[in-house]
Symmetry: D3
Subunit: 248 residues, 6 copies
């Protein structure tokens, strides 16, 4: 039976995460499913959006463990709810930001993040500090395209990403690029080719594939997060939210 | 007209934050009010609890600014929703954890936090890293009493707090103590006296008074958080939550 | 009876700290007084000047505690004698550099200091390291105007400060500005307006008001520095200086 | 065709790395092979041993890329020759120390390494600094058993490992354990069970399986190390070593 | 002509620094002289004492450069006035704390300081942060003997130093010892022998000889401090101190 | 009898290290000798080259201690084999990179390294991290001249070094320069003069003289590296290398 990994896209907008994306990740021994959340924001471009996605994400995460899914991946570079979800789950749940930044730190001296908007910068900076890779972060650059307009003009998006990536390599000392929004899924190949054409070839990390494959590796290695870092919360009243019961 | 500061207690349990606490903070030129949240957890003892308190807290925070309150204080040492709230507010909103840790860093070389339960430790560690005071944190110690049992036996609580504080000073190198739960409001005096009696006198920071007074100082200095670090979120659909409109 | 805070201006030049400055800080419950020192430099623009201001400052500080003043503020961004003074005092004494940098770290991700001369840069860098906010310091910029010429042409000064502040926000990643010389008292409003006019609005921290108000908040919260970090010095012979006796 | 990963055991002693170890890692889509080196030390327990293993390891690594192997794993927690090998290879080569430490940093707040001898401690400390996880390293503990005696008494080894792991969790603040010698392959399960029995359950990372599975994930994600961090060395005379030619 | 290095002992107590100490440092090509200061404290055991030693030290330092001395060494582990003196000098002036800590960082992974009194601990901690060796400092330990009683019972002093040094190596992870008071001159040999007898042999750095010899090496290498880090102070009025004129 | 220090040039190319260089370092009480290695690379411009120089260097280092040499200096800024050599030696062995970076950290706030080629940058960055001076490193700049072409056109070399040094001071915030290749021996004077001519005067550290003189100072102070940081390796089989026996 193949491993089953579920991607939780912590927004309420349909059609942003395409079926093509998911299918490309599957293989004989890896099943990938995906779900949106019921309550939350249309997209995540701020701490405010991220915070409002967490209750919906927690519901989906608890359900997935109950269904027998092997691991979860949060489909947002803000890694919203990652720590809260680990407290209520036994199976691994990975954030693409944490995972991609550690992979980048293994493959290169310093890396840059290319993301959507200036408003996301403080959130990504804080994550780099918590994850302990702050010294390896060469820069954060933005293409200035909102999440929900990513699909509107892929040519413009790819050109903007390649331009910022090239600037990061040439001027900021980046030896690797991490795509700073999971909505950029699929753009890594074009960016890598553009960088190579300019003599600036470096690894370009597409967070969703990298994180799904890392989640699978962790499951196969029998590993999950530490319950001493992420202890199960004590039982108590919760008003206004109806979350599925989780294992205590 | 006196300055008006509102304390938002981000839980749904009535009677935990007492009227006495609030009155003791008031003076001729400082009015202090307090509110609970409508939806959220009974108490906060994990990242999970903290995350579920944020939607309710954001609603109360936006309302308060609309009412003309001058500054806000979050009544929880996890500082839940601090960054999200700053994005939607113009008036200062302070977290007692951020504020107390910076005050401790100003008054002493290293400080210890004494909090309720082991499950809170990772949350406080992460905050110390984000706030940049990690190197100043001598230790985090716990009294192993849940938040909702704090009021049940104040003698036992005070003894446990004084014991852990004394251990922190004697063995961990703490030169100041920060009370690690806002439910400990009012215990600082007893702890300080106990420490003095053991020849271990150090400042004991009670987060709610310290944070309310710092908030008042910021308002009087004409200061609030930076909108470049906390940019106003873009307008978008939000499903399942009905928050008041905020200024954009 | 109002709280009484004294500003010690650690130089011997009369007329630099004006009566207007002090009056603007006072209120019904806050009395502010000010004093120069007897022996020391005309102004402080180097470690050398700072070191020579300390004996005079210590004398004034001990006297103030004996008089019953509630807290002290050092009127120089080099925070000269801060640690030495805390060793001989029970009441709080605050440095504007330490206080302003911690406030900036609370209000913004990164901040820049705008100071008088290049010669002050190493001193401020060292302070940022000791205070633990080095990673939050985006840059130090100078207006290249000596301390004693600050008052000569306020228009030129304001223009230079606003220009450097704008450069810090636009190019160095500063999300807040800290005025890097207490002689810039009163300039924050103009700089903030200029930044707003250029679409670069960030908090501008004027160190003296911010520090005086923080000192008042600490006194009201019953807090002072730790005597374990700042232990009272042992009694011994002191040749060439006649300092008032301090409490041991 | 399955992915092919080769483990290079950088010592000259036959029989230390067993066939069982390798077979347990294989699956339908993952082939694992293994090789010793021709010149070098009997085992690696110091920087001296590690340095003398590098020429032999580089030869094996270049050969493997020429053979069409997809990725390489160094079979020693000193990660000897990792940086040198990346300079002469296009395919990924992973060190178990770098990989395991980053995995531990993703799964837990802090982790401890349990290794063979005191003499290995400085080497592992330096690696933690270079890899950027120094702050996450709770402690390094040793079982005081030389590498070549690991197989002599597995019962004693397992007991010693479990004891040190339990001490690390109970006293050093470790929330995860990384086995600090690849010779400990296979011991993780016993240690995890012992920790669970003592109420100290945390993830126990067995470096070789974790690194082989991560290497496979990187290959599947199309990622390898950055040639800007690991540039191809210029051609030049090399006396006393006959290495295979590598791609320039 | 031999190199001439002068030791400035920044206290007013005669007889503490003995002639024997100085003579032992001299050789055919190295002349060592020594001087006390005119105004200042009897000994240095706090930031307060240190601050009051600086004006006297600056006078002696400027005089020495005028006399043609080649380099200066401050005879106190608080390195009082080091930065101020560098601003007014062209010749090298070294602090034994800065020099010894860097030497220790070159010879060992981590080191401990053994000093006189608890009151000195915060001063030495701050220096370790400014000098950038904080992560290399395993611990600071004290013998609890005031500076002016060091000479009273050398047997007791040596025993206490050896005991604390052994504890630092055995329990704090120190791989080298730095004597934390220049009054301990001459004790290194005894401590090293005691450590060796206990199987805890590590380098024991005696700050004055190490710093005098490093100063000589810098002069021979034609090196001195950077005038960009230590710029010459601008000319201005100085009241209450009569310092010799320095080169501008 | 004069002190005897030997420089080990860890390459096989004759004529790169000239007799003039060595003679200039000698004095009545300091004898300096020099040797190449037997097996290894023609020059060192990568981690790969550095790794292949170590076996040859270890042989020469052990021989030198047996001959009675007092201290050793590695003639390459990659400090190849430094840690391995310290494990097998009792006498001090110094790397010019470690030594020069610590000297620079003592003389200036921040420093820049000027080296040969881009390929050396990651190696020097890693060393700065291990040595603990990363925060003091303003930048690494290159002249883009391979090691073996250094002697071909000294005018071009000096001009390129002076240009990069001036840029480092003017734009990167460097307050000192460290020559980043020991092949630049003798260029410091020209660079210093050029910097002075441009009003950018800072210390320029020539690593070989600075390291030889520091090694002599350590020997005279009776200091060597800690055998707890660099423990003697256990005896074991070594295949393919014939190293002289070292003291255990």
């Amino acid at each position: 039976m193949p491993l089953h990994i579920r991607i939780i896209t912590p927004i309420v907008t349909e059609g942003v995460r395409t079926l093509d994306d998911i299918e490309s990740l599957q293989s004989d021994d890896l099943r990938v499913s995906q779900t949106l959340i019921d309550i939350g924001p249309a997209s995540i471009e701020s701490e405010f959006d991220g915070a409002l996605s967490v209750p919906g994400l927690l519901a989906r995460a608890i359900e997935a463990e109950q269904e027998g899914v092997d691991a979860l991946v949060i489909d947002c570079m803000g890694d919203p709810g990652l720590k809260a979800a680990r407290e209520v789950l036994s199976i691994p749940i990975l954030g693409p930001s944490e995972t991609s930044m550690h992979i980048a730190a293994m493959l290169a001296g310093r890396f840059s993040l290319i993301t959507v908007l200036e408003s996301v910068r403080p959130m990504l900076s804080d994550l780099a500090k918590i994850y302990g890779v702050w010294e390896r972060l060469a820069s954060i650059r933005v293409v200035d395209i909102p999440v929900l307009e990513i699909g509107a003009d892929l040519g413009r998006l790819n050109a903007a990403l390649a331009h910022q990536a090239a600037e990061a390599v040439a001027h900021d000392g980046a030896d690797a690029i991490v795509l700073g929004c999971t909505g950029f899924f699929g753009c890594a190949e074009f960016i890598a080719a553009e960088l190579a054409a300019r003599g600036l070839s470096v690894p370009v990390i597409d967070p969703i594939p990298a994180t799904v494959l890392t989640a699978a590796a962790l499951v196969r290695a029998g590993l999950t997060h530490s319950k001493r870092t992420y202890p199960t919360p004590p039982q108590k009243q919760l008003k206004g939210f109806s979350l599925p019961e989780f294992r205590r």
